[in-house]
Symmetry: C2
Subunit: 62 residues, 2 copies
């Protein structure tokens, strides 16, 4: 499986937001909807900083 983990990077520190993210979708209000492989969902305020697919990492920043 090729899901990724999503992190928030703030002041150089990474905080895990969600594991096993399948779907990333921008919403109209500027947030991002993240859906996990089991259907769990969270909404992220922030913007994408970098995605490393081979490393399974999605980094957001405030």
């Amino acid at each position: 499986m090729c899901e990724a983990n999503a992190y928030m990077v703030k002041d150089g520190e990474e905080t895990l937001l969600m594991e096993s993210v399948d779907l990333v979708e921008p919403e109209a209000d500027g947030t991002f909807r993240l859906v996990g492989i089991f259907g769990d969902q969270i909404t992220i305020k922030g913007k994408i900083r970098r995605m490393n697919l081979v490393d399974h990492r999605i980094l957001f920043e405030p």
Copy 2:
């Protein structure tokens, strides 16, 4: 390997932009830099519409 293919969706049609994308990074000018697993790079004008990691698909729109 968990790279993805990047597509541009316009008028309901998908055009392949790049295969085997490893890195996706927003640039200061609003474009996205895509780097493939072999180090090849392209720059995309557009915004992210959806990413399906399990399906290995990154969709951009104008």
